[in-house]
Every structure is written in C-alpha cells, then in structure tokens.
Amino acid sequence: MLSYPTVRTSLIFLAIALVGLLFADIAITANNPWRDLGNFFLGILTPNFFSSEGLLTALLRTVAFAFVGVTVGGICGFLLALIYRFLPVRIFCAFIRAIHELFWALIFLQFFGFHPLTGVLAIAIPYSGIFAKVYSEILEEADPEPGRLLPPGTGTIAAFLYTKIPDCWAQLRTYTAYRLECGLRSSAILGFVGLPTLGFYLETSFSQGMYSDAGAMLILFYVLIATIPLWVRPKLLPIYVLGAPFFLGDGLPIVWGNVERFFTEDIIPSPIRDGEGLAGLMPWLEELFANEALPGIWNTIVLTQIALVATGILALLSFPLISNHFGGPIRRTAGHVFLVIARSTPEYILAYILLQLWGPSMLPGAVALALHNGAIIGHLIGRQTNTITLRSDAVTGFKRYTWELVPRVYRSFLAFLFYRWEIIMRETAILGILGIYTLGFYVDSAIQHIQFDRAMVLILITALLNIGVDALGRFIRRKLALQTMPTC
C-alpha cells in the first residue's frame, strides 16, 4: 500500500492534520450547546414564514445581487479569457480571485458604504477572475481543426464566433449556470457584513433567538437553490438579467469624498502618512507581522489542514449514501437530501450557526468546512460510482466499499480534494470575521479600529497565501497525475 504515491500523500496530509489538532483550539465553550442545537433544529421543524415581510425582501435582494454580480463577472471574465494567455492578465486574475467576496465587500464598504455597488462589485470582481480562468480553459479545449480549415482571410471575430463558441457553448452554459448557484450563496453571505441579503436576516433572527425565523430562511434558501432548474430558464434569463439591477434596493448614497480619502489617505501605511518615511515602515511592518500576520497565517494553515482532512474523511464516508451499489431507494433519497442540504448551505452560514451554538473555537469552523466541502465531493464521487459497473459476482457491503469502489474512485477523490484545498483556505481565512483567530479575524479587527492600511496588508497576505496553496495544489495534482473539472 505504501508504495502508492496517492496513499503516501494521503498519509502525509493525515499526519499534518493530526499534528495540527495538537495545536488547534478545539473546544465547545457554550454553557448548554446541546439545548441550543435542539432549539435550532426545533426552529427548522417549525419554520415561521410570516413573521415579517423582511424575509421576502431579503430573498429578492439575494437573487438580484447574485444575478447582477454574476452577469458583470461573467462578461468581464469572458473578455479577460480572450487575453488570458498573457502572463500579466493571468497574475491579475489569480490575484482578484484569491480575495474572498466578503473581503471585497469589506473593502468597498469603507468607501462606497451601503450602496448596491458594494455588493455587486464584491461578487463581480472575484467571479471575473474565476470566470476568466475557467472560460479560457474551456475555449482552449475546443477542437482547433475547424478553425484551421476556414477560408484563408476569414476575420478573427467571425472565425471565433463560428468555430470556437459553438463548440464550447454547452460547457460555457453549464459552468455559468453552476456559477450562478455559487453566486446565490455568495450573495446570501454578503448579508453578514450588512448588505440587505439573507445573511443579514439570518444574523438578526439568530441574535434575537428567533430560531423559527432562521429556520424559515434556511428552508427558503434550499428551495431557491434546489429549484434553479425550474425558474432559471434560457427564455427568462434576459428578463432576470435586465430586471435584477432594479431590485438591488437603494442603500445609502455614495459619498465621493470618502472614496478619495480611502485611496489617498486611509490605505497609505501610517508611518508614511505621518511623514516618518521608509525608516518608519520597517518597524511598522515588523510589528504587524509579529502580532497579527504570523498568528493569523499559522491559525489559517492549521484550520485549513484539519478541515481539508476532515472534508476528505466525510466525503469518503458520505459517497455510499447516494451510490447505487448500496442499499435501497429510501436510504439513497435520504442521502441525497442530506448531501444537498450540506452542500447548498454556504460554509460561512454553517460556521455562523455552529459558532452560535457551541461558542467560539476552531471546532465550528472545521465542522462547517468539512460538512460543506465533504458533501460536495461526496456528491461528485457518489455520482461517479454510479457509472461503474461491477461484475455480477462482486462482493457486497463493506467489502464492496473497500475493495471495489474506493480503489476505483480514490484518484478522482484526491483530485477534487486538492482542487478544493485553495477554496477551503480562502473560506478559512474569511471565517475569522466570525471570531476564529484566522487571518480574517485580524482583517476585521483592523477595519473595526479604522486601520485600513493594516487591513489592506493583511488582505494582501491572505491573497498571496491562497495563490501559494493554489500553486501547491496544482503541483501535487500534476505530480500524482490527477485531473478534475472545476467545482466552486
């Protein structure tokens, strides 16, 4: 077994996570966590859809922000994809997608305030970077032969429209629809920083202990995501896209003085702003690194590694739930429902709920990340096992799981896991806003103390960390010869 590079890699990552557990702050600090959890589930079972009209407005805003953000991101991403072969463009895209939507929202809040533009840009900017990358990959895979055989002298645009686009159309459409679903999740969590979407409603209900209201919101959110194929129709799409900007709400007007001040004063490192020059910059940076950046990086890495391995374990445990190779239709339906709920809930919302119930530590974060990501990978792997045909005398039960299925899907399982490594790290950093001591915590407190210069440096560090993990993940996937399709 140890001679397989995939097994060795898995064991190394398992060992890192176990060592990480020794250092991690894992605890349940709430006084009565199980009663709170019980109350919460009771709330989901007794949802209250009619407590206020705020719920419907929040739902409408969530959809509107998602549509406008994803549309703008999709258009910009497509244009960037056309020039993606240039290195500066690739670096630029890697950078903007390495910064989480919530960080972008926090930045824009400082100078646009609660204007709809903040929410739109917070989604559109990172999505442009992601779209650019994936679109360019899809376009690159198009069959080059029809393009070569066009009449000489055919214009570039006509050649592109006739040979590339039709060949990629189905894939472009599938991916964009998938991103729209991600956009709905992103839009929902923007509420946690104060935009008028579902997250805001959830936070309000939770802080007042109105679990039935929170339950109603969650149920509506699942229904919204699960019925996407029903209400997002190609014929209706233009109506949504053109109509969405009118439902973003008014927010507060932009104060342009704030915008100017943000760029000319706020984000300039304070020693330079105070005229201490470069001499003052080094001690400032040293202090920032020692007290905030390094602890933030350390905690982010520890939680990421624990969550990564927990995600893997959960995915391996959960894929049999929807696999045709085990059990009957009832268990499979239940399995599907569980996986749909776990993967439709944004990890940020899961973490928020668990944190409210169990009190602050790394535990809610790790569980939330593992649940969400594990359910996504478990779903993909489970679906993959359904395409495997076993010989009729194949062993059954646990033996079938260990001898027939896991060996067959293990490589693609690892591919998905390493693909999501960077995503897990991006989320880990952002969970800091909820009070776990990852990088997001230090960013958030710098912003609360109106030290935007520090916040910007910390966000920059977070982005670089993500780019690094992304590169490492790609390196490992290449080393192990693993291939994947993109998932968000």
Binding site: E145, P146, R148, L149, L150, P151, P152, G153, T154, G155, I157, A158, A159, L161, Y162, T163, P166, D167, W169, A170
Partner: protein
C-alpha cells in the same frame, strides 16, 4: 488563373521525408485524380498544395473540419466567411439572410439532403457529414477544388452523384481517391503516388485500370 505550377514540394514527418521533392503542374481544365495506396502521401500532398494555392481553392479535407454544434446551414455558409463583413457573418449566425438560405438550400438539394438544413451536424451520419463538407466546398466556389477522399463514406449511387457534381462545378481539381474506377471515370488526368514520389502521370483516357493497379 486556375492552374498552378508547384515545384520543390516536400514534407517530412518525424524527421523522415514522406513527400518529394516533387514538381506538379496543373493546367486549367485538369481534373487530377491522386491515386496510390494508403500512406503513400496523398493527403500530405493535398495539404501542401492547399498551403501553396491558399485563397484560390475549395477544400474538402479528410477529417471534414465541421463545427459539430452548428447546423448544416452554417457549416456550409462557412465556405464564404471571408467574403462578408464581420457584422454580416455575426447576424447570419443568429438569423441567416434570405438569399444565403436559398443558395445553400439549392446546394443541399443537389446533394439530396435539403431536409437537413437546420440539423446540427453532430447528429448526422458519416456520409451526411461528408456531403456537408462537400457542400461547403461547392459553396466556396473557388477556381480549384482540392479534395481528400471526398466519397469515402458514400454509397454507390451517392458517390457517383457527388463526383458528377464536383466535375461539373469545378473545371480544375485535384482529388485524392483510392477507387481506381471512379478516378478513371470522373477525372481526365491520373497521378499515381508511390513512396512520396510521382510514379505515374498520364491522361485518364490513355490508361487502363491494370496500369494503375501496379501502384498498389
């Protein structure tokens, strides 16, 4: 100018020379059949000629070069993409103009597949796909036809129909084919390729099938 003089034609694959150096002069009115066993270099020669002749040719490549997701109409229309402005091509992609529709439909009618006008080429059979590529070459209407095994996937009557159409529409052509009888019937000049060289070059009416068989 429909004829062409090409000299010094060579091609190498993996460091090994597969064609030439050879010289080929084709005069206007020459309907050349390239014959020879598979691997002799017929396809390579067609590609070389296409590179040299460039704009002046209608091409039917062996792998057809169709865009599978587009309907038959657009795949045929692509033969004249260079003749229209970008806006015209773009509008056509969404909503074809009437005169183009009529022209393409006439061609498809001649090829006995007018009912497939709006069917994506991905869902056509091999023979139908081949006829779409032929329709594109006809639609392009260049002075020279360069075709690589244009009837390989067609059944007997359809193969004759297509060859007749190609000979009628193109005064000058170079067609690679492995069916000796078809070559003798529809072409007026036979060029035999062996080991990357011209081993035979005679008017068709001065040859009998057995002369050609020595190449195989």
């Amino acid at each position: 100018m429909a004829g062409f003089d090409l000299s010094g034609l060579t091609a190498s694959f993996g460091g090994e020379r597969v064609i030439g150096p050879l010289t080929l002069n084709v005069k206007e009115g020459d309907q050349v059949a390239l014959v020879g066993k598979s691997g002799a270099g017929k396809s390579t020669l067609i590609r070389l000629i296409h590179q040299r002749v460039d704009r002046e040719s209608s091409l039917v490549p062996q792998d057809l070069g169709l865009v599978n997701a587009l309907p038959v109409f657009h795949n045929v229309f692509m033969g004249q993409l260079d003749k229209h402005a970008t806006w015209y091509n773009t509008v056509t992609l969404v909503r074809p103009f009437k005169q183009d529709r009529k022209q393409v439909l006439e061609l498809l009618d001649a090829l006995r597949m007018s009912e497939k006008l709006w069917i994506p080429t991905a869902s056509l059979s091999g023979g139908q796909r081949q006829r779409v590529a032929i329709a594109r070459a006809l639609y392009r209407n260049a002075p020279v036809l360069l075709a690589d095994e244009p009837i390989s996937a067609l059944d007997g009557p359809m193969a004759h129909l297509v060859m007749q159409l190609l000979t009628d529409r193109f005064n000058t052509s170079v067609i690679a084919m492995h069916d000796v009888n078809m070559a003798m019937k529809y072409c007026n000049r036979i060029v035999g390729i062996q080991d990357g060289q011209i081993a035979l070059d005679e008017p068709a009416d001065q040859l009998v099938a057995s002369d050609i068989m020595s190449l195989y």
